[in-house]
Amino acid sequence: MAEQKVELFARRLDRGVQQAVHSNSAAGTEKRYTVLGKDYSAPDDLRRLAGQIRQHAIEHLDTYLEQAEQSLKRQGAHVHYAVTAEDACRAVSDILQKAGAKKVVKSKSMISEEIHLNDHLGSVGIESVETDLGEYIIQIDGDHPSHIVKPIIHKNRRDIAKSFEREGLGDYNDDPETITRRARVFMRDKYLQADAGITGANFVSAETGRLVLVTNEGNSRFCLAAPKIHIALVGIEKVIPSDAELAVLLNLLGRSATGQQLTVYTEFINGPARTDRPSGPQEMHVIFVDNQRSQILASDCREILRCIRCGACLNVCPVYRQASGHAYRSVYPGPVGAVLSPLLAGKNFKQLADLPKASSLCGACNEVCPVDIPIPDLLLKLRNRGHEEHAPSPGTPPMGAFAKLASSPMLWRFAMKSNKVMNLVPLEKLPLPYLQPWLKTRTLPEWRGGEFRSWMKDRRKK
């Protein structure tokens, strides 16, 4: 099979990183499997139900988005819309600048990664600190998350200790507990000094306007406990009909993501502080972001919009485990990313059109997906689309020379015969570095070029 960019990345990947990603992903898959098996006799029925709930929601997005907007406004939140990533960034900085906010704390959200919010805020002079431990390390390293749920799955404690030392968070110490305590102390001041807290949302209930956020560290709670402004960036597809659906979705999200029945903190936000409930942020802004989602809804791959970002498909994927998240060259890695990233790229689809090919279509991603997304089908549809749009296929060798050879019977005959000399070439000595790892585990069959032709000839004679 042709060499894809993802596979190439996998082969050059540091062994330690590969092992870390592999074992951590495998452990995630194992935990998910155990907890679902322990709690449910028919987990697949539940996944299918969750899939229907989400499919219903996105197929009625026109109704639910409008309803969510009204509910949010009724609760006292300001509702904004952003068509593109740039619009979304600008919406955030406009709100902050209008309020004179200079410092913000951020809770982990994939959509803010997607729109590159931190870069934008930095460029307009606003300090933005990631508060999730993993995301903070990504931020100080100028790195990118390599997993949806475990952003630093590719780093080890020594890498982190070095980064902390560099950032002035104490002398080198690679004990995970010490690292965590230092982050705790550092973040405390950041929370207390921040003018605004920025979060994402896991779900928004159209009926009640409740915004649901799940975390284990408690950082999102802090972002809503100390600052006076709350900005939530929400992809338009996050809307669900009502709170009742959460019974299904929350039960599957925690178990699929980390093998927990529920994540430690499940937070339901229903508007800003009120006179008799003054503790939270005084202002609440919800920015609904499209950024290609309505186009995906129009496409034959709309099922991907059901995704609740649990990361289970990454953990189970043999390609992800070998290649790690960075191989996917985009914010969303793994099987979900192989579908979502090229679609989110919009008119730059071709640049990521190789991602849907980085899969053996083994189907494991579909089997673990809590909302039953038929990822392999979507990958096939995108492969076709890549084909139709003549996206470059990075792994396929140029066919020019072969075409010439194949269209001239005389040349062909000559090549077939003369290639017998291949049998005498010591392949492992060929100066082709990229072939060597492949050849270590394989041998080529003996060259028997031309035999079919002579066999045909003999047959005709008879």
């Binding site: 219903h56 009625h60 284990n216 408690g218 039960n251």
Partner: protein
């Protein structure tokens, strides 16, 4: 010029218009996502205690043992809201007690009691609301947080709790201490929130 809102709504409508039919809203019973072991479990209080302990939340049923635990943890300053005088008396034997939670003392106050709005037996979660816990920081910043859970307010299931959510700007279900496994998948407690989560059932 059309607004961003108009643009988004018109592309969403345009995307959905050609669909020959749309997936109907699935009808499901409220208990559909209940774990199958739930039916055979004992009363909600016992179940809550069992599930809470399993997720790392310590459960106390009397003030004395709760105070003794805080003492053994070396707590120096505890926040106890005004009406809880007996608890305050017990704690004042070994540490400073304050009924005033201020930002200036966020790093000094290392334990806090706050009343919960309820609990969930199925998951062992504590429910906090802005009404029950008027200062969000008090339940989050100290290393030890002890929620006061009333027996009568324990919901049996997650679905029950969802159906009974009060009107409050913020509800939070707390299921164990704050934790992370970001560094090499190793579990560490007390990242930003409490490293020791407890509840006192009253």
């Amino acid at each position: 010029m059309s607004t961003a809102r108009d643009q988004i709504f018109s592309s969403v409508r345009a995307a959905l218009a050609p669909l020959p039919e749309r997936t109907a809203r699935p009808v499901f019973s409220k208990d559909v996502a209940e774990p199958h072991w739930l039916a055979t479990e004992a009363d909600s209080l016992t179940l809550f205690q069992k599930r809470a302990e399993a997720t790392g939340t310590k459960c106390f049923t009397d003030m004395e043992s709760c105070a003794a635990w805080l003492r053994s943890q070396g707590v120096r300053t505890v926040y106890i809201p005004a009406p809880l005088t007996r608890l305050a008396a017990l704690c004042s034997e070994f540490c400073e007690v304050t009924s005033n939670y201020t930002r200036a003392r966020v790093n000094e106050i290392d334990a806090a009691f706050t009343p919960a709005a309820g609990a969930i037996a199925e998951s062992g979660s504590i429910i906090l609301s802005d009404e029950s816990t008027p200062d969000r920081l008090a339940a989050l910043a100290p290393w030890h947080h002890i929620a006061l859970v009333s027996r009568a307010e324990i919901h049996r299931t997650i679905a029950d709790a969802l159906a009974a959510m009060p009107d409050d700007p913020n509800l939070i279900w707390v299921t164990g201490p704050s934790k992370t496994a970001d560094v090499e998948g190793i579990l560490i407690q007390g990242v930003h929130g409490p490293g020791a989560q407890a509840c006192l059932i009253v």
